[in-house]
Protein backbone atom coordinates (compact mmCIF):
# COMPACT_ATOMS: atom_id res chain seq x y z
CA UNK A 1 0.00 0.00 0.00
CA UNK A 2 1.34 3.43 -0.94
CA UNK A 3 0.96 5.36 2.31
CA UNK A 4 1.43 8.78 0.69
CA UNK A 5 -1.28 8.16 -1.89
CA UNK A 6 -3.69 6.96 0.80
CA UNK A 7 -2.96 10.00 2.98
CA UNK A 8 -3.45 12.31 0.00
CA UNK A 9 -6.85 10.76 -0.67
CA UNK A 10 -7.91 11.08 2.96
CA UNK A 11 -6.69 14.66 3.31
CA UNK A 12 -8.24 15.73 0.02
CA UNK A 13 -11.59 14.39 1.20
CA UNK A 14 -11.43 15.89 4.69
CA UNK A 15 -10.11 19.29 3.65
CA UNK A 16 -11.99 19.39 0.33
CA UNK A 17 -8.84 20.14 -1.66
CA UNK A 18 -7.18 18.73 -4.78
CA UNK A 19 -4.84 15.93 -3.81
CA UNK A 20 -2.14 16.96 -6.29
CA UNK A 21 -1.22 19.93 -4.08
CA UNK A 22 -0.29 17.55 -1.25
CA UNK A 23 3.31 16.36 -1.08
CA UNK A 24 5.40 14.86 1.72
CA UNK A 25 6.78 18.34 2.39
CA UNK A 26 3.38 20.00 2.75
CA UNK A 27 2.66 21.56 6.13
CA UNK A 28 -0.74 20.34 7.37
CA UNK A 29 -1.62 23.29 9.57
CA UNK A 30 0.60 26.04 8.21
CA UNK A 31 -0.13 25.40 4.52
CA UNK A 32 -3.32 23.36 4.28
CA UNK A 33 -5.04 25.10 7.18
CA UNK A 34 -6.02 21.85 8.89
CA UNK A 35 -7.86 22.52 12.14
CA UNK A 36 -8.18 20.33 15.22
CA UNK A 37 -11.48 18.82 14.03
CA UNK A 38 -9.83 17.92 10.71
CA UNK A 39 -6.95 16.24 12.53
CA UNK A 40 -9.37 14.14 14.60
CA UNK A 41 -11.10 13.03 11.41
CA UNK A 42 -7.72 12.25 9.93
CA UNK A 43 -6.78 10.20 13.00
CA UNK A 44 -9.84 7.93 12.82
CA UNK A 45 -9.50 7.62 9.04
CA UNK A 46 -5.88 6.49 9.47
CA UNK A 47 -6.97 3.93 12.07
CA UNK A 48 -9.59 2.63 9.67
CA UNK A 49 -7.42 2.63 6.55
CA UNK A 50 -4.18 1.23 8.00
CA UNK A 51 -5.53 -0.74 10.98
CA UNK A 52 -3.03 0.80 13.39
CA UNK A 53 -3.38 2.38 16.82
CA UNK A 54 -3.32 6.16 16.51
CA UNK A 55 -2.23 8.38 19.37
CA UNK A 56 -3.36 11.88 18.40
CA UNK A 57 -0.77 13.56 20.60
CA UNK A 58 2.07 11.67 18.94
CA UNK A 59 1.03 11.60 15.30
CA UNK A 60 0.24 15.34 15.22
CA UNK A 61 3.29 16.35 17.32
CA UNK A 62 0.93 18.02 19.79
CA UNK A 63 3.40 17.83 22.66
CA UNK A 64 6.38 19.05 20.65
CA UNK A 65 6.53 22.46 22.35
CA UNK A 66 6.01 20.84 25.74
CA UNK A 67 8.97 18.55 25.06
CA UNK A 68 11.10 21.55 24.06
CA UNK A 69 10.25 23.25 27.35
CA UNK A 70 10.88 20.08 29.35
CA UNK A 71 14.27 19.54 27.70
CA UNK A 72 15.29 23.11 28.55
CA UNK A 73 14.04 22.86 32.12
CA UNK A 74 15.85 19.58 32.67
CA UNK A 75 19.01 20.78 30.89
CA UNK A 76 18.67 17.90 28.44
CA UNK A 77 20.02 17.91 24.92
CA UNK A 78 16.94 18.85 22.90
CA UNK A 79 17.62 16.59 19.93
CA UNK A 80 18.31 13.58 22.12
CA UNK A 81 15.17 14.31 24.13
CA UNK A 82 13.03 14.51 21.00
CA UNK A 83 14.53 11.31 19.59
CA UNK A 84 13.38 9.59 22.76
CA UNK A 85 9.90 11.16 22.76
CA UNK A 86 9.17 10.93 19.04
CA UNK A 87 10.88 7.71 17.96
CA UNK A 88 9.04 7.53 14.64
CA UNK A 89 10.86 10.62 13.33
CA UNK A 90 14.42 10.48 12.03
CA UNK A 91 17.20 12.52 13.65
CA UNK A 92 17.48 14.54 10.44
CA UNK A 93 13.79 15.36 10.50
CA UNK A 94 13.96 16.31 14.17
CA UNK A 95 16.91 18.62 13.46
CA UNK A 96 14.82 20.29 10.76
CA UNK A 97 11.89 20.60 13.14
CA UNK A 98 14.07 22.24 15.80
CA UNK A 99 15.34 24.72 13.22
CA UNK A 100 11.77 25.38 12.08
CA UNK A 101 10.14 25.95 15.47
CA UNK A 102 9.92 29.71 15.07
CA UNK A 103 7.94 29.38 11.84
CA UNK A 104 4.80 27.95 13.43
CA UNK A 105 3.27 24.46 13.49
CA UNK A 106 5.92 22.15 12.03
CA UNK A 107 3.75 19.14 11.21
CA UNK A 108 4.26 17.91 7.65
CA UNK A 109 2.59 15.16 5.64
CA UNK A 110 5.80 13.13 5.80
CA UNK A 111 5.58 13.10 9.62
CA UNK A 112 2.20 11.38 9.36
CA UNK A 113 3.70 8.89 6.92
CA UNK A 114 6.61 8.22 9.30
CA UNK A 115 4.20 7.56 12.15
CA UNK A 116 2.12 5.13 10.10
CA UNK A 117 5.21 3.37 8.78
CA UNK A 118 6.60 3.09 12.31
CA UNK A 119 3.34 1.69 13.67
CA UNK A 120 2.95 -0.82 10.84
CA UNK A 121 6.48 -2.10 11.23
CA UNK A 122 6.68 -2.14 15.01
CA UNK A 123 3.25 -3.02 16.27
CA UNK A 124 0.41 -5.36 15.45
CA UNK A 125 -3.00 -4.28 16.65
CA UNK A 126 -6.44 -5.71 16.70
CA UNK A 127 -9.15 -4.07 14.69
CA UNK A 128 -11.87 -2.54 16.86
CA UNK A 129 -14.28 -5.14 15.60
CA UNK A 130 -11.96 -7.91 16.74
CA UNK A 131 -11.66 -6.67 20.32
Amino acid sequence: MDILEEIKKILAEILDIENHIITPETYLIRKLGAESIDLLELAVAINSRFNIDVNDDEIFLRKLRQYVTEAKQQNNDLLRYLVEKLPFLSRKRLENIIADLEGGPTLKVKDIISYIDFQINNFTVLSVVDV
Binding site: I37, L40, E41, A43, V44, N47, D56, V129, V131
Partner: protein
Protein backbone atom coordinates in the same frame (compact mmCIF):
# COMPACT_ATOMS: atom_id res chain seq x y z
CA UNK B 1 -24.60 47.09 29.02
CA UNK B 2 -26.68 44.38 30.61
CA UNK B 3 -24.76 41.39 31.81
CA UNK B 4 -26.74 38.18 31.59
CA UNK B 5 -25.67 35.90 34.38
CA UNK B 6 -28.00 33.07 33.52
CA UNK B 7 -29.48 31.94 30.23
CA UNK B 8 -32.50 29.70 30.30
CA UNK B 9 -33.12 27.55 27.27
CA UNK B 10 -36.50 25.94 26.77
CA UNK B 11 -36.23 23.02 24.38
CA UNK B 12 -39.86 22.07 24.87
CA UNK B 13 -38.74 18.68 26.12
CA UNK B 14 -39.42 17.21 29.52
CA UNK B 15 -36.09 15.47 29.66
CA UNK B 16 -32.81 15.85 27.83
CA UNK B 17 -32.09 12.12 27.90
CA UNK B 18 -33.53 10.95 24.59
CA UNK B 19 -33.06 7.25 25.20
CA UNK B 20 -35.56 4.95 26.91
CA UNK B 21 -33.17 2.06 27.36
CA UNK B 22 -29.69 0.79 26.56
CA UNK B 23 -30.28 -2.86 25.80
CA UNK B 24 -26.84 -4.09 24.73
CA UNK B 25 -23.24 -3.01 25.18
CA UNK B 26 -20.15 -4.63 23.75
CA UNK B 27 -16.57 -3.62 23.07
CA UNK B 28 -17.53 -2.12 19.73
CA UNK B 29 -21.32 -2.14 19.74
CA UNK B 30 -24.24 -0.62 21.57
CA UNK B 31 -28.00 -0.84 21.15
CA UNK B 32 -30.91 0.98 22.70
CA UNK B 33 -34.56 1.82 22.36
CA UNK B 34 -36.65 4.96 22.10
CA UNK B 35 -40.33 5.56 21.58
CA UNK B 36 -41.35 8.70 19.69
CA UNK B 37 -44.72 10.37 19.44
CA UNK B 38 -44.88 12.17 16.09
CA UNK B 39 -41.59 13.80 16.98
CA UNK B 40 -39.36 15.71 14.57
CA UNK B 41 -36.50 13.72 13.09
CA UNK B 42 -33.84 15.81 14.78
CA UNK B 43 -34.80 14.22 18.09
CA UNK B 44 -33.95 10.85 16.58
CA UNK B 45 -30.58 12.18 15.47
CA UNK B 46 -30.03 13.46 19.01
CA UNK B 47 -30.97 10.01 20.40
CA UNK B 48 -28.35 8.40 18.19
CA UNK B 49 -25.80 11.02 19.21
CA UNK B 50 -26.51 10.26 22.87
CA UNK B 51 -26.27 6.51 22.29
CA UNK B 52 -22.85 6.83 20.66
CA UNK B 53 -21.61 9.19 23.36
CA UNK B 54 -22.63 6.70 26.04
CA UNK B 55 -20.62 4.01 24.30
CA UNK B 56 -17.56 6.27 24.14
CA UNK B 57 -17.89 6.90 27.88
CA UNK B 58 -18.54 3.20 28.56
CA UNK B 59 -15.42 1.93 26.79
CA UNK B 60 -13.37 4.64 28.51
CA UNK B 61 -14.83 3.71 31.90
CA UNK B 62 -16.37 7.21 32.20
CA UNK B 63 -12.90 8.65 32.82
CA UNK B 64 -13.08 11.25 30.05
CA UNK B 65 -15.54 13.82 28.77
CA UNK B 66 -17.05 12.82 25.41
CA UNK B 67 -18.87 15.06 22.97
CA UNK B 68 -20.21 14.91 19.44
CA UNK B 69 -17.92 16.59 16.97
CA UNK B 70 -19.47 15.96 13.58
CA UNK B 71 -22.14 13.99 11.73
CA UNK B 72 -21.34 12.68 8.28
CA UNK B 73 -23.80 11.42 5.69
CA UNK B 74 -26.92 11.19 7.81
CA UNK B 75 -29.93 9.78 5.97
CA UNK B 76 -33.36 10.67 7.39
CA UNK B 77 -36.93 9.60 6.62
CA UNK B 78 -38.71 11.52 3.89
CA UNK B 79 -41.54 12.74 6.11
CA UNK B 80 -39.14 13.97 8.81
CA UNK B 81 -41.38 12.52 11.53
CA UNK B 82 -40.70 9.72 13.99
CA UNK B 83 -43.56 7.78 15.54
CA UNK B 84 -43.54 4.55 17.48
CA UNK B 85 -40.82 2.34 18.96
CA UNK B 86 -37.40 2.48 17.38
CA UNK B 87 -34.38 0.24 17.82
CA UNK B 88 -31.15 2.22 17.93
CA UNK B 89 -27.84 0.58 17.05
CA UNK B 90 -24.26 1.76 17.01
CA UNK B 91 -20.99 0.23 15.87
CA UNK B 92 -17.58 1.69 16.59
CA UNK B 93 -15.93 1.63 13.19
CA UNK B 94 -12.65 3.42 13.85
CA UNK B 95 -10.90 5.28 16.62
CA UNK B 96 -7.81 7.09 17.75
CA UNK B 97 -6.75 7.80 21.30
CA UNK B 98 -9.12 10.77 21.52
CA UNK B 99 -11.59 10.41 18.62
CA UNK B 100 -14.21 7.76 17.97
CA UNK B 101 -16.20 7.20 14.79
CA UNK B 102 -19.52 5.32 14.87
CA UNK B 103 -22.00 4.01 12.35
CA UNK B 104 -25.34 4.70 14.03
CA UNK B 105 -28.83 3.86 12.90
CA UNK B 106 -32.41 4.00 14.10
CA UNK B 107 -34.85 1.45 12.74
CA UNK B 108 -38.49 0.61 13.03
CA UNK B 109 -40.05 -2.72 12.10
CA UNK B 110 -36.76 -3.91 10.60
CA UNK B 111 -36.49 -0.86 8.35
CA UNK B 112 -33.69 1.66 8.84
CA UNK B 113 -35.08 5.17 9.23
CA UNK B 114 -32.02 7.19 10.22
CA UNK B 115 -28.46 6.22 9.42
CA UNK B 116 -25.26 8.17 9.72
CA UNK B 117 -21.64 8.38 10.72
CA UNK B 118 -21.01 10.20 13.98
CA UNK B 119 -17.61 11.44 15.09
CA UNK B 120 -16.92 12.03 18.79
CA UNK B 121 -13.99 13.67 20.52
CA UNK B 122 -12.88 13.22 24.08
CA UNK B 123 -11.04 15.46 26.48
CA UNK B 124 -9.93 15.14 30.05
CA UNK B 125 -12.31 16.53 32.62
CA UNK B 126 -11.22 20.00 33.70
CA UNK B 127 -12.51 23.17 35.36
CA UNK B 128 -15.19 23.54 32.68
CA UNK B 129 -16.20 19.90 32.62
CA UNK B 130 -16.16 18.97 36.27
CA UNK B 131 -15.16 15.35 36.76
CA UNK B 132 -16.92 14.81 40.06
CA UNK B 133 -20.24 16.09 38.75
CA UNK B 134 -20.22 14.77 35.20
CA UNK B 135 -18.70 11.37 35.83
CA UNK B 136 -21.25 10.61 38.54
CA UNK B 137 -24.09 11.93 36.36
CA UNK B 138 -23.21 9.86 33.31
CA UNK B 139 -22.50 6.72 35.34
CA UNK B 140 -25.88 7.05 37.04
CA UNK B 141 -27.76 7.76 33.81
CA UNK B 142 -26.03 4.87 32.03
CA UNK B 143 -26.83 2.53 34.91
CA UNK B 144 -30.51 3.57 34.88
CA UNK B 145 -30.77 3.13 31.12
CA UNK B 146 -29.25 -0.36 31.37
CA UNK B 147 -31.76 -1.57 33.95
CA UNK B 148 -34.51 -3.90 32.82
Amino acid sequence: MNIVSKIEINSGLEDFVLLDKISETGAATIAGKKKYFNDPVYLGIESLAQLGAYHVRFINDFEIHAFLLKINQCAIPANHILNGSYLLKGTLVSQSKSAFCYALQAGKENKVQIEGEFLYATIDYDHMFNKKTLQAHYRRAFSCLKKE
